[in-house]
Symmetry: C3
Subunit: 148 residues, 3 copies
């Protein structure tokens, strides 16, 4: 099924989501909040950019399955362990989040999602997650929607 938009004026919409997780590392399903922003934007055909505004956090798309999320956390912790914090030169600045900057690069900063018929255009299991790697502080996600 191919679909062609008829062509119209371009609209844009911007919204921030705020989070504060209790854990250092956490994944939050934000799919409904992003769809809500798409509806508010009145965009029928276009794209939604969803990105972490902080550099120790990610936005990514995968399955909402708790076993998988445990696998991701274990995988990331093995690749870039939080401790000892002295292993990261970034932590010489007084920070303790050197690992979080690496974990975020692996999981990615952003997703771009198609909007079709005013909805997120998703496969069967796609869900959008906010990935926190240095939690316990208030942080933001930016949603920017453009389309017609």
């Amino acid at each position: 099924m191919n679909e062609t938009g008829e062509g119209g004026t371009m609209k844009s919409y911007r919204k921030e989501l705020w989070f504060e997780t209790r854990e250092r590392m956490a994944f939050l399903n934000i799919t409904n909040q992003v769809q809500e922003a798409v509806t508010e934007s009145k965009v029928q055909e276009g794209v939604a950019l969803v990105n972490a505004m902080h550099i120790t956090a990610s936005v990514f798309i995968n399955d909402d399955e708790s076993g998988l999320h445990r696998d991701y956390k274990q995988f990331l912790e093995k690749l870039a362990p939080h401790e000892p914090i002295s292993q990261y030169r970034h932590n010489d600045t007084g920070e303790d989040n050197g690992d979080a900057h690496i974990k975020r690069q692996i999981m990615g900063r952003e997703v771009v999602v198609a909007i079709t018929n005013a909805s997120l255009d998703f496969g069967p299991w796609e869900q959008i997650f906010y990935g926190e790697f240095d939690g316990r502080r208030r942080k933001r996600v930016l949603i920017k929607i453009i389309g017609e």
Copy 2:
């Protein structure tokens, strides 16, 4: 060479590509199919979003060189081995593709490619690949094009 589009009405176009690989892990060059969609869209200036619609598959851009593809497979298999499948909590659900969810995050879900003069705006060696990490079933890629 800087180029400015004159400004016009926004168009959009949507197309799905379907794949079924014989191997569990495989890389398919889909560059021509994406360019075909760009041509069908009649968009002259804009962007093409190309994303896996399944969460154990990737779309990525790199070189079409078989030695490199073997290196990628070996690298990914070392980082997140398929076996033993009992090492992944996701597989407690009855799946055996816990590794594929991790491999897909490393290689990425999507690419966004510039469209200039109705063509994919690429450097000398850039080619678009569908990356399959849990094959032998039918899966889709979404192409969403917006522009003028």
Copy 3:
């Protein structure tokens, strides 16, 4: 603060940046050059795609902190060491940059950044970097801006 663009004609803008690093692996802050392109584009609301045009280089967003950059280099070198070059089948072609193709996939090819009020719409520490993994030759980054 949610903001809705009023709707207008779509504009596009394209610009290339050229680099030649002295080191094999290097990170260059290109934030100001991307903002300059946004200003030149006269786009008020939209998105900027910034991507490496070469397949052994990345564009990514993180902190401009030298300790962190050393951590990234050490992490990437451990995951995909440059030497021995014989460990990569890609290098059987006569290349010595098999590792660089892997490093680039981990750090990513591109970023998509929101443009709001004619500026890059960034969180407090976000900076755009060109990531080079096979330097000492001239290479390009593409900036493609669309919006209204």
